[in-house]
Subunit: 255 residues, 2 copies
């Protein structure tokens, strides 16, 4: 297992070195079919990570946001989002992150959330705990939804489910918006208690699951089922299982 | 004028030293009548800033978020928000800031936005330009709303004006949420083009106006009028006047 942690550590360094020069440097941007801005840094960072894996883990599979799926033969798959939070990246706000998740089939093994501008690195997994810059961290206890500090990237993802947005806004202690992957890092530090998103891709959540589980949190789809690499991208992450059950129940009324 | 810049610089140091130890340290929180969380750090930082002003600028007025209005006799007023963005502060996200604005009657003179965890400091004013950590910065040109990168703290503030939220989401390049004062700093760096908020207090916007104006931007209320210390807290800030006029026109349809 230490080998995987060392690989995640090394890939954080490799991708961080690629990304840093582009931050606030007015990089060329292009637009994908879904209109999300993608920077040159995004592609270069994924190439750097894939290059690392091809050298050090040639038998493993790779799923990357930019360069697709490479099927492996070891049963292990690395899932890469080189820059999660491209909008804050382009705006110059260091709340984006590099995400790398390692899964064995549908079982999360280990994950990395890396904020390369602030040099903040979460590495964790269900069997190894979660460390923030090397120090073990944990979610905080929070018994009731009304005391929960919530986070979510954008209200727009709840356009078809306004009840969820209203629950986040009206039935928690507060909600901070605009977090992307960073919110899950804050959950693992005990800063937030609940994160809810409705339209993640597999490369968005594959790294988050092991980090959250390793910090003692819970992560599921809107039905309360554990996430797999085939989940529908509607996710709820909680620091305390009591809130998780309460929020899943609440959400079930709005779908 | 250099004297005022030096005072803002010094107060950033003084308040930053007070705030830093409380960040991610699970400080005691209490709740004000309006239910916004206020930390111990918030009060201690405002006391430190007021103490500095009482020593160095005893004849000036002070408006502070936590400790009210002290009427001066010089015609100059310092407007203080020790921690703008208390929710991200409590969650552990360094997108909050210390705000100090200096006004002469209804004329903005100079302002400070300070992010003490990242050591990022914007100081600016209409007659002195705006500097970011000492380097002159400017808003970027952006000719049309559809190309604008927008920011806003929370969709909840547009509950009574859903058309504004929809305009931000559907008619700009993108909107990032959850910015608080930090979005105005990004505007002054050319990272964002437009920021809109509907419920600011005078201590929230008094420092932002001089920083935005000094970077070549425009800031007004929803009618397009310049902000004063008596404005209603509905503000639009733009990096390019062409967007400003376009957005003010759009907003006028929704009130």
């Amino acid at each position: 297992m230490q080998e995987f942690i060392d690989h995640l550590d090394a890939m954080a360094e490799v991708s961080g070195d690629v990304i840093r020069p582009y931050f606030r440097a007015a990089p060329d941007t292009e637009y994908k079919a879904d209109a999300s801005p993608v920077t040159v840094a995004d592609k270069a960072a994924e190439q750097a990570i894939r290059g690392y894996l091809e050298t050090h883990r040639p038998d493993d599979g790779i799923i990357g946001e930019e360069f697709g799926h490479h099927k492996g033969r070891s049963g292990l798959t690395w899932v890469i989002d080189p820059i999660d939070g491209t909008k804050p990246f382009i705006a110059g706000r260091a709340t984006f992150g590099t995400l790398i998740g390692l899964w064995e089939g549908d079982r999360p093994v280990a994950g990395l959330i890396h904020q390369p501008i602030l040099n903040e690195k979460w590495i964790g997994g269900p069997d190894i705990g979660t460390r923030f810059n090397g120090t073990p961290v944990a979610c905080r206890p929070c018994a009731a939804l009304k005391n929960a500090r919530a986070g979510s990237t954008s209200p727009d993802q709840f356009r078809e489910m306004p009840g969820i947005r209203k629950t986040l806004e009206d039935e928690t202690a507060f909600v901070i918006w605009g977090g992307d992957c960073y919110s899950y890092g804050l959950l693992a530090l005990g800063g937030l208690d609940l994160v809810c998103e409705a339209c993640l891709k597999v490369h968005d959540y594959a790294a988050l699951v092991p980090v959250v589980l390793g910090a003692g949190g819970t992560m599921s789809d809107f039905d309360g089922n554990p996430l797999t690499l085939e989940s529908d991208g509607r996710v709820i992450a909680s620091g305390d299982p009591r809130i998780h059950d309460e929020f899943v129940n609440r959400v079930s009324a709005f779908r």
